[in-house]
């Protein structure tokens, strides 16, 4: 045992150390210290500003964020920064905290994050800001005190209203509807749902009977749609203000007897919804261009890092090819208005 243990200990130590050295010294083969393997930031740039910006979406494997973060990547390569994307597999608040902590350790220049919860990641973000990192939220906000800027895709009122308008039109302004949302804590969906409930006051014959959560997971959203149809046999419409949810719901509806009888609308990406619009499961849905959202967020972060803006109301900055933007109330920048997709125009869009 004596020789065995010592030999084994040494061999194992060597093996593990080799692994560490190999990965720690960077996948690109650079010598230890300067840059880590692709996917992390941390270069002490020769320039004054640290333009290493990392995107932290709600979760990975989400086509909406794939598109938006690609927009961010495009922007970052335009102004010569360093792009990275990290995120949890599960859209839960505590999972994001670990990634924020790591980014703080790595001393990136800016974090662009879509929050899974308004408050839970606040402490971690504050620590990052104390270390000099700029924090910008996009898509889903935190409490304003934890971030430098919020890049919103459209006004929350506008997003809520367009969805209520669409469902009212599709079910003849009367009947039972349900909401299939993402995760129960998501700031953006919750804000929209609140406003949707207010907007429903203008439609007295429509009744909201249930709100279920698919957690931005395809299988869960699929199963929850089935459960909704089971539990509410008189359901006339479903609103899914989440691109993962509406795609899963569309897939379930298009193979079930409820197709055409239960209306489905919400926020979805053209690529995922094309099939269901063409086969009649979905008449109309809305979104904005997530690519532009990520693009704008990256430019906003850059402006903060270089000191071009402070993030307060009235600041102006240029976002590459999108033009000039002004910071509004609550340190928020709004991208634009939601856009409706239907059979007539869906083929024009490729995201």
């Amino acid at each position: 045992m004596k020789i065995g243990i010592t030999l084994r200990g040494v061999a194992a130590a060597a093996a593990v150390s080799l692994t560490l050295v190999a990965s720690g010294c960077g996948g690109g083969g650079e010598s230890g210290g300067n840059e880590a393997s692709p996917g992390a930031a941390g270069s002490e740039a020769a320039e004054n500003a640290n333009l290493a910006i990392t995107f932290v979406p709600k979760n990975l494997g989400n086509p909406y964020f794939d598109t938006s973060d690609k927009g961010g990547e495009e922007a970052i390569s335009e102004f010569g920064g360093k792009y990275a994307e990290v995120g949890p597999a599960e859209a839960s608040p505590d999972a994001q905290v670990s990634y924020i902590n790591t980014l703080t350790q790595q001393q990136v220049g800016g974090i662009v994050i879509s929050a899974n919860d308004k408050k839970a990641i606040g402490d971690a973000l504050q620590e990052a800001r104390d270390a000099g990192i700029k924090v910008v939220t996009y898509d889903s906000d935190t409490e304003p005190e934890y971030r430098d800027l919020f890049v919103n895709q459209a006004t929350a009122e506008g997003i809520a209203k367009v969805q209520i308008d669409m469902i009212a039109e599709q079910i003849g302004d009367s009947g039972e509807i349900a909401i299939l949302s993402a995760s129960a804590n998501a700031t953006n969906q919750n804000a929209w749902i609140e406003l949707m409930k207010k907007e429903l006051a203008n439609h007295p014959n429509i009744k909201l009977v249930d709100t279920v959560y698919g957690n931005d997971k395809d299988q869960e959203s699929f199963d929850k749609t089935a459960a909704l149809l089971q539990s509410h046999p008189n359901l006339k419409g479903i609103i899914a203000p989440t691109t993962v949810g509406i795609a899963a719901a569309g897939r379930y509806l298009s193979t079930s007897k409820a197709k055409g009888k239960v209306a489905l609308t919400g926020l979805g990406t053209p690529n995922q919804m094309r099939k269901y619009v063409q086969d009649g499961t979905v008449k109309e849905f809305a979104l904005w261009n997530p690519h532009d959202l990520g693009y704008l967020a990256a430019y906003a972060t850059k402006s903060l890092i270089t000191g071009e803006i402070k993030g307060t109301e009235g600041d102006k900055f240029t976002a590459g090819k999108l033009g000039e933007y002004t910071v509004g109330a609550d340190n928020t920048v709004v991208l634009g208005d939601p856009y409706k997709f239907n059979k007539d125009n869906i083929d024009q869009f490729k995201f």
Binding site: K2, I5, A12, G24, C25, S92, D94, D123
Partner: protein, 354 residues
């Protein structure tokens, strides 16, 4: 006896290794499984500090210890449980349940310490459920704790759904993360050190602790030597539940979020670390310093790899492979030991080494 172990029971005795009391003290202390892990830990720390400039900083140390704290806490009683030959798979779910109860109690207006107390009480009850089912009803701990894993997690998710309670007073969430001066070491480590001392005394300096080892080596023999096997196991399960609940309170305050699915899968991380630290799954063997080194090893590896930009999945692969390697090599080693012992035994006229 160990009912869920290798198919051929004949080899389980041989797979254990006994302290060779004939060897000098330095050999007994240094050339052990635990020391190998500690050496490995030190080696990894040195390499990581050299390869990653941001690694050996108070900031990194702080985050590392904060991350690994719940596992450190739960690994202490889990070590004792595994040494007796049982297992407790429900600890992760207990962390989640305690987190949920803590959050709900606080939301209904109770102060933080009071809410924490209720969460810990739940841990005691949960541990008692496990213990009673294993000792009084006589069920195998693997099956029982798979059941309570589902039950506790189910209660946690049932009570809160997928909402998270995130409204906790700044004072307490900051306290959970507060560091000692400039060293970067979190203040909660003080609690941990206290617990380590308690458990070390319990395990190595009391008859209760001797009893734990005896039960792991042979429950029947322990029973006939007068050790109260049932009561010991019951106490250990209750301890595990309590500390898991405590870890749940810490987890909630550290992440600022009380959610039904908090700490899903944590039980596997604890068991992996404990086994890595040299505790034998067959029972009867193991020590705390090895376990602590095992937890820290996984923590340091994960932290260093994350800092280097390696993604979480690679860390999981490494954890899984390390776990398998550690158990397989100890099995192979004892096989080698047996082979070498046989001719020695024959020439010495059949001495004990099996």
């Amino acid at each position: 006896m160990a009912s869920l172990t290798a198919p051929a029971e004949a080899t389980t005795e041989a797979a254990r290794s006994y302290l060779d009391h004939g060897a000098p003290l330095w050999r007994r202390v240094l050339l052990t499984r635990e020391m190998a892990i500690i050496a490995l830990l030190l080696a990894v720390i040195i390499v990581a500090s050299a390869a990653l400039p941001r690694f050996a900083t108070p900031v990194t140390l702080g985050f590392l210890l904060l991350d690994v704290m719940p596992i450190l806490l739960i690994a202490l009683p889990m070590t004792c449980v595994i040494i007796t030959g049982e297992i407790d798979l429900s600890v992760g779910s207990m962390v989640g349940l305690s987190s949920v109860l803590f959050g709900i109690m606080h939301q209904t207006g109770l102060s933080i310490p009071l809410a924490a107390l209720i969460a810990v009480l739940a841990g005691i009850v949960g541990g008692a459920i496990n213990g009673i089912l294993v000792t009084a009803v006589g069920l195998p701990s693997l099956a029982v704790t798979i059941g309570t894993l589902a039950l506790f997690r189910g209660l946690a998710v049932g009570l809160l759904g997928t909402t998270a309670i995130t409204d906790f007073p700044r004072y307490w969430t900051q306290l959970a993360k507060a560091k000692i001066g400039d060293t970067g070491i979190p203040q909660v480590m003080i609690i941990f050190v206290l617990l380590v001392i308690i458990f070390a005394i319990l395990l190595h300096f009391t008859t209760f602790g001797r009893g734990i080892y005896a039960i792991g080596l042979s429950p029947e023999a322990a029973h006939f030597s007068g050790i109260k096997v049932g009561r010991t196991k019951l106490i250990l399960f209750i301890l595990t539940g309590t500390i898991a609940a405590l870890a749940g309170v810490y987890y909630t305050l550290r992440f600022g979020s009380s959610r039904g699915d908090n700490a899903t899968g944590m039980e596997l991380q604890v068991i992996a670390a404990v086994l890595l630290g040299g505790v034998s799954i067959f029972g009867g063997r193991g020590a705390l310093h090895g376990v602590i080194a095992g937890v820290l090893l996984i923590g340091v590896l994960a932290s260093a790899l994350r800092l280097a930009g390696v993604t979480a999945d690679v860390i999981n692969i490494i954890t899984g492979v390390l776990l398998i390697l550690s158990v397989v090599t100890s099995s192979v080693l004892s096989w080698v030991q047996r082979r070498r012992a046989r001719p020695r035994a024959l020439s010495q006229g059949g001495s004990s080494a099996s």
